[in-house]
Every structure is written in structure tokens, then in C-alpha cells.
Symmetry: C2
Subunit: 434 residues, 2 copies
């Protein structure tokens, strides 16, 4: 088994504390195989649930990362820039093994980090970065290493999922459900990363790297937030046989990849339609397997700590593999975006209740070749001057829809930018599954 | 990356053929990293979908396994005895890496094989042995290596699941649903291993090894088949809010382990209640994570071949870990059975329709301290001389129930041995999850 691995742990918040607890209770796969050679946090004098006094303290995570007495640097600070990035770079420059839960860092700077890693002979592991305790990184990289992945459909942000689930279950609006999520500790004081889709987009970029060996600039992934979804949308979707879920999606379209993050309508028969609360779930359609599902708690101290331990045990077991399954040179960075994918969509247009309004909206859609599949106007709207119109479209090109929506937004009777949500129909595995 | 691994593949049936196809289409993780140095099957002259002429042929799998030009022996023959066992032993005695899909062999002879493996410095991998294409072996051994597993609830046999799903969906009896499963290729000509629960029991023993580091004699796991489940039972369960599913279960009870395989009533809120057709699913309750779900196709050429490739890529990546996560000496073989677990049960008793029958049945239950929770007699039974009585019990000890059932079977009015099925209530993660 060799000598124990010497760990340096930076970031002693909820996850870092959970990791120290988990390490203290280590089972037979870990016992006697590691020592904690240093820790670093914001303030050594903070009251903590775990006693850190036995471990050498470092004020600066970067200094800890570069210390010769550290074999493995565990980064739980977070953030794509600043100390987290500098500390990970310092560790990789020393050829050390790095374990991180930092999806923003990986998504934004993955290529540079992987090159650094290869140049100096280190390693980089990040099971905790996506879906917390659900071993989906290992599942994709090891379990599905021999399969061709065609589609990934996932709920990757527990906060957004909790908010939308709560809006539906308790008939709350977005602000009230967000406040409840914050009160329960499911949302941070500043929820922007979660509700905007940015957190899911970082995670989806990482899954894209594993599934398609393409780690794209997250900015190239189409993104929408959940802030504009209303109880009316949820009720309207329900009437049509759908639930609104925060969906992250990757799909192979020939040599291109469709990638998107945002609220979407899922038919009740879709496996993700029933993943509620703060749960995460990842569906993978792979040939020649079919559809696989991984689900479980996507965040929290315990799940995240267990994911870090999984990486650590893999290190102890001597597994030597590139972080994304292929070398940095084989991992492309340009997402060959399939931007003009055909799909069906849900639209809500808030309009003045006056004659000709519906005709004007329909005209703009028709002008771009977008056919209306169903139409509904809420008869019980309280504020009759402003009424919502709900539409679903037939199959149409995304670019045509975007153009029609822009035109509708410019109509004098339109009171706010229309809300458009994609309708997902991939409730059964793709036909190519073999 | 070193020189290519030289593979010897024994067993060229559906799975072996699928593997050769998958290897021919190998992606970047495999390309140029292996050669097929020999194959063995029943008959070299059989018509096959894959051209085997480029590969050296061996009539005897054991001879192939021991050949010096083979680094990795892949065993897809099947069966706990005979050529499969002898060939795997021959390969392990040469210190080779063995990859197998053979759950019977692992469950029946795992300890001896692991000792052989350790003594000669080889390795043993078996992702394909449980749940086919679903990477649950790696998920438990690597992904959850740092967690404490408390419960595993699973559907591990696609044939049984297909038969029970079809009985319910098409109102067929067992024989008709079995015939349909056979016609569709979901059941073999001799379905005994699948419908008796023996196949699930082999797989559950392997999961027990991974989850609890205890690889028990499969015979020590309580087992029931699905043959005696009737459309009446399915309808009766449905009326009570349950579905009948082929469930394999492990649960930690202090220092003991409850283990069972057989049809069980699941509330409609249970995640396994909606796993239909030939799908497999594994729920794992683990601390400090919560509940994880893995599901997907549990059998077939494609899924099984991909699982074998996952093992092969792990080998190429140099992962050196004991097959069950701990060394053979730490892997116990004696299952500390929690035999007298308390639970609720469903009973069907076929009786003569005469006065006093119900009183006699109730008396036997009461005499053993088993309280009746609900009772139903089918008013529309066609053959009035023989009527089924349906009961559910309150929480009772298994031994008390078994004794009461034996007494009921001896009543003169009882026409056939009562059918008893456990009712599972673990629809939410166990409270210890933390």
C-alpha cells in the first residue's frame, strides 16, 4: 500500500468540515492510508464543529498547496478566480494530485489546468463538482468508457429544482419559494448562480467534457434562468400534461452538439418530471446500452465529502487516468453548437386585452414559419387590462422562434418580453440506442 | 501507455459477440491499447454476426486462459462450475487479469477465486455481473467507497420484472407472461434461474460483498420465486395501493444484515414501484449521503459488452484495487443473518368456502401473535367451492408469521400452501442517513 498520502485541505466551510468529519470516521479502504498534513481556511479562530487543532494551519491556501510535505491538495474554497485557482495551479505546478469540488474553476479554466497537470505529472479529480454524492463523473468516465454517449438530460441544480417544486406544491410565486429555499438552507443569500442557470451550465460543461471529450467555454451553452417562471406557467404547463423543471441537456446531432440549460416543460412520462425537491438526476442515453439513470442528493456536506473520498480512494488505488478520460490534446474546447435545433416550445405573452392582439401575435409567428399547436387565454385573469396568452408551437427551428419572439416583443400590445420555454419529448431513450 | 494488453475471450454467444463488435468500434480510450490474442467458443464453424477468423481459435477455454500470450482473460461462458470456473482458475493461477460477467461463479466461489487472485498477483473484475450496463459495481466500490451503506433495494432480474409487469399490464397469468417473455427473448427456454430468484440471489450476494464486505453463501439469503404470484394477487395488491415487484434487499440491522430476494409489495410512492419491463434499478441508502438510484438495462449484448469494456479500461488505467474494495482476508463469508426481522406481510390463502374457515385462519395468526391489518374476500370468485382470502398483517416477526403460515397450511379447509409476500415501506431513505 505504500506510505500514507499526505493531504492538504483548503476551505473549511460546510463541505470542508464535512470532509474532516468523514475522514475521522474513515472505513477500511482509508484507515491508515492518509494523514492530514495541513489545513487552510479563512480564519483559524472560528468556532467549528470539527477540532482542527491537530492539523498544521496555513493562512494562505496557495502556500499550503505548494508545500513539499503535501501529496494531495484538496480544494474546497470555490470560485473560478482568486485563491482557489491560484492554489490549484500552485499544486499542479508541483506535480501534486489535486481533488476539487470547484465546478466554476473546471468549467472556466479546465483546459489550462489540464495542461499544467500533464506538464508536471500531477492529477486532477472532481467527482464532487457535479451532482454531489451521485457518482456520475466516475459513471461517465469509467462505467460508460466503452459506450457512445448520445444524450445527457439532467437536473443539476438542487436550488432551482427545490424552488420550482415548491412553487408547484405550495402555489407560491418565485420570490416566496426562493425565500423558503433560503430559510431551509437550500439557497444562498445571493442566489444568482443557482437561479440564473450559471451553476448548472458549469456542471453541464464538465459533463460535456466527459461525454463528448469537448470541454466548452460555458458561455457557448444556451442558458435561461428560472426567475421568470410564474405559478401561471406551472398551472398552464400542468393543464397541457407537463411539469416545468430546470433541465440541463446535451445531445449529439451528427458532428454537432446541442447544449442548453434552463427551465423546460417535461411530459409527465419523462423520468425527470418526478425528480423533486433538492434532488439531482442525470439520464444518459448511450449506445449500445440504452438509457441509464443516476440520481440522489446533489449538494450538502455529507454527499460532497463522500465524493471527495471517492476521488481519494481512487488515488490510493493507483488509478492513473486523464481527468476527462482522454489527454488534454484530445479534449477540444470549441463546442460545435447545433444552434438551430428543431423543437416544440411553450410561450407566454403578456398583452393588453384589446381586439386584434391575438391576431398580431399569431401573425408574427406565422411570418417566421412557426405554427401554433395549442392556444389558451386565462378567462379568470384579475387584471383585465393585462392578460397572459399561452401558446405551444409545433416543431420549429430555434432561430425562427427567436426572431418571432423578438417581433412579438416589439408589438405595441405586448407588455413584457415573452417567456419561451422548450418542451422536451425525450421521455424514452433515443432510437439510435441499438 | 505501455504495450497493448493481449486479450483472450472465452464464450462467443450473445454477449461475446457483442463484445467483439464493441471492441471493433473502440473509441479513443481503447484504440491501439489492446489486441485480441485468442478466442474460444463451443464451435469455431458456427455462423456468427462477427468475423472471428482474424483471431487464434482455442477449442478449450482453459487452454486459452493459461496461454502466456494472454494478459487479460475475459470469461463470458457462464455457470458456477465446469469450464468457466476451471478457465478462470487457470488464468488466476498465472497471475493474469480476469474480467467476467459470471455472477453464479462469483457468488458461489468468490472467496476461493479472490484468494487465488491475491496469491498470484492477478486481478478480478466483474462490472457486467450485476445490472448489465448500469455501472453499479463501480458505483458501490469507487463512488461510495467513503460512505457507510445502510440499505440496498434493487430489481436485479429483468426477466422477472418483465413477467410481473406484463401480468399487470396485460392481465395475463404467470405462464402466459412467461411465454411472452420467452418469445421476446427476455427469458430463456429454461427460466428457472430467473423466476426462482436464484439469479437475483447471486447478484445480491455480490452487492452484499461490495456494500458490507461480506460475500455470503447465496444459500443463506432468503429467497422466493415469482411463479406463485397470480393476477388476483396483483389486483389485490393494487386495491391496497401496492405493486408487486421482484425485489432484492439488503439492510444493516446493527451488526446483522437482513438479506432477501423475492416478490414484494411496494407502495406506489416507492421508487422501485415504477421500474417496469426488463429494466434493473438499484437504490442505495448511504450515510452521510442519502438515497442514490442507479437504473438502466440489466442485460443484453450491448449493455453487458459495455460493462466488460469499463473493466478493461480500468485495467488500462492501472487501477489496482481488490475486487470487493478490501482484501480477501477482510471479506467475511458468514452472513450475520437478521432472520427475525419485523415487517408487514400480504397473505393469500386458498380455502374451501365453508363456515368457520376465516375464523380458523384468524385463530392461527392470533395464536402466533400476528395481528390482521386488512382482510378481503373476492366476492366474484367463479369457483365457489374454492375461494381466496386476502390478508395483510400488522408489523410482526418473520418467525411468528412462518409458524402461523405452517399452521394455516395444515388446516383441513386450506386447499394449497398460503402465499406470503413482504410489504416494503422503505419508500423514503432510512432515517439514519444524516
Amino acid at each position: 500500500m505504500g506510505r500514507p498520502l499526505r493531504l492538504g485541505i483548503a476551505g473549511l466551510g460546510v463541505v470542508g468540515g464535512g470532509l474532516l468529519t468523514a475522514l475521522a470516521q474513515a472505513g477500511p479502504r482509508l484507515q491508515g492510508r492518509f494523514v492530514i498534513a495541513g489545513v487552510s481556511g479563512r480564519d483559524s479562530s472560528l468556532a467549528r464543529t470539527v477540532d482542527i487543532s491537530p492539523f498544521p494551519w496555513f493562512d494562505d491556501a496557495r502556500a499550503l498547496a505548494a508545500r513539499p510535505e503535501i501529496d494531495v491538495f484538496i480544494e474546497l474554497i470555490g470560485g473560478a478566480v482568486g485563491p482557489a485557482k491560484q492554489a490549484v495551479e500552485a499544486a499542479l505546478r508541483q506535480g501534486k494530485a489535486v481533488i476539487t469540488a470547484n465546478k466554476a474553476l473546471l468549467a472556466e479554466h479546465g483546459h489550462a489546468l489540464l495542461q499544467l497537470c500533464e506538464r508536471h505529472g500531477g492529477s486532477l479529480a472532481f467527482e464532487a463538482a457535479v451532482a454531489g454524492g451521485v457518482p456520475v463523473i466516475g459513471g461517465l468516465r469509467e462505467g460508460l468508457a466503452g459506450a457512445r454517449i448520445d444524450r445527457v438530460s439532467a437536473i443539476l441544480n438542487g436550488t432551482s429544482n427545490f424552488i420550482l417544486s415548491t412553487m408547484e406544491a405550495q402555489s407560491l410565486d418565485f420570490a416566496a419559494a426562493l425565500a423558503l429555499a433560503q430559510a431551509k438552507g437550500f439557497a444562498e443569500a445571493d442566489p444568482i448562480m443557482d437561479v440564473s442557470g450559471a451553476d448548472s451550465r458549469h456542471k453541464l460543461a464538465i459533463l460535456c467534457g466527459l461525454a463528448f471529450h469537448c470541454l466548452p467555454d460555458p458561455g457557448s451553452i444556451r442558458m435561461a434562468g428560472i426567475e421568470r417562471v410564474t405559478p401561471l406557467d406551472i398551472a398552464s404547463a400542468r393543464r397541457l400534461g407537463f411539469r416545468i423543471k430546470p433541465v440541463a441537456r446535451l445531445e449529439r446531432r451528427g458532428a454537432r452538439i446541442e447544449a442548453s440549460v434552463g427551465p423546460a416543460l417535461l411530459p409527465l412520462t419523462h423520468p425527470l418530471a418526478h425528480v423533486d425537491g433538492a434532488l439531482n438526476a442525470v439520464l444518459v442515453d448511450a449506445a449500445p446500452i440504452g438509457r441509464l439513470t443516476f440520481s440522489g442528493p446533489g449538494a450538502g456536506a455529507g454527499p460532497t465529502a463522500c465524493a471527495v473520498l471517492a476521488d481519494l480512494i481512487n488515488l490510493l488505488d493507483g488509478a492513473q487516468r486523464p481527468a476527462f478520460g482522454v489527454g488534454a490534446a484530445q479534449l477540444t474546447s470549441v463546442l460545435p453548437v447545433a444552434s438551430n435545433a428543431a423543437g416544440r416550445h411553450y410561450l407566454r405573452v403578456q398583452v393588453m386585452d384589446r381586439p386584434g392582439t391575438l391576431a398580431a401575435v399569431s401573425h408574427e409567428l406565422g411570418a417566421m414559419g412557426v405554427s401554433i399547436d395549442s392556444f389558451h387565454q386565462d378567462a379568470f385573469s384579475q387584471q383585465r387590462a393585462s392578460v397572459p396568452i399561452f401558446l405551444t408551437t409545433q416543431l420549429c427551428q430555434l432561430e425562427a422562434l427567436d426572431a418571432a419572439i423578438a417581433a412579438i416583443a416589439r408589438l405595441s400590445s405586448t407588455l413584457e418580453p415573452p417567456l419561451s420555454l422548450p418542451i422536451a419529448f425525450d421521455s424514452t431513450p433515443s432510437p439510435e440506442e441499438g
